[in-house]
């Protein structure tokens, strides 16, 4: 399970509440790991029990206490252990590819492909803007930012690939049905 490790990475950069983490998972970290707030709270509780994070509690009246989590030494150790083990190949699961393979309704698939293409373009724009802003000179990325930079590059390459695939699909399915 890597949600725990994604949280640890995020806490290494900056201590945070569950809510903060959920927002980070909607942004930067969310480029390669999605998580709902429910799952984050659940996981944080388990991680605290395991001693990987520690919480500073700020009591609030009338509502639940605010808990800010920080990574512990045990958490850092666990992160190192995790980094050392070979990462399993991602189980790729694509509803879209299943549909495409079935090709039950060309019109519906063309429509879906256009939607996906637009989504890829939108994300690519965001990633590229982020890259330009944070790392204007790719050859001069600071040591401690290199991981984040390379992860972002993965996002960029992945979106570009998605666009190229959509273009191939549209080319094959549109122009041919027009003829």
């Amino acid at each position: 399970m890597a949600l725990e490790h994604a949280i640890l990475v995020s806490l290494t950069e900056q201590a945070a509440t569950g809510y903060d983490l959920a927002r980070r998972f909607d942004a930067s970290i969310g480029y390669f790991w999605r998580a709902s707030h429910q799952q984050i709270y659940k996981t944080l509780a388990r991680m605290e029990a395991d001693g990987w994070v520690s919480a500073t509690i700020e009591p609030r009246e009338g509502t639940a206490d605010k808990k800010t989590y920080a990574i512990t030494d045990a958490g850092r150790e666990e992160l190192t252990r995790f980094t050392a083990e070979p990462s399993p190949r991602e189980a790729l699961r694509s509803d879209f590819a299943v549909k495409l393979r079935g090709l039950a309704d060309v019109t519906a698939i063309v429509e879906d492909t256009r939607r996906r293409r637009a989504d890829h373009v939108e994300r690519l724009d965001r990633y590229e803007a982020s890259a330009k802003r944070h790392y204007p000179d790719p050859d001069a990325v600071e040591e401690r930012e290199r991981g984040a930079y390379l992860a972002l590059r993965g996002g960029i390459l992945s979106e570009r690939m998605g666009i190229a695939w959509c273009d191939e699909i549209l080319d094959q399915l549109e122009t041919r049905s027009d003829r």
Copy 2:
């Protein structure tokens, strides 16, 4: 859930036992959907209860009956319905990207990246061999094979992208630490 739909697509091509399906999920369909035999048997049972597939039972002595599943009209309808609905963007979850982002141990990551690169190369070779064998002329792919062809193209593009990403990572992490 698309495992059900992946099974339906597979059964559209050819009726099969759970065991057959498990092997298909280790090969062609497995390019974009993985499933263990346990999960396939469980899902087939549910699909039969839902009337999407029907089983022909061949009794065997001493061991469990052999069941060959075929898609039903209701199954075909469900597949059409599924194709018509927009496919959700895949939740991308990458242990590797999490590790990379953390960048806790450069040596370990370089090693892991090399392993991943080799895996991508191996898969790319397989996919390209498969493409060459089944679709020697991409412009002359038969109508009913177009979906499978385009899905395979997705696999090819995806592996190429993976290799390119690994190369970037290795370039940044290796040459720089050598200096």
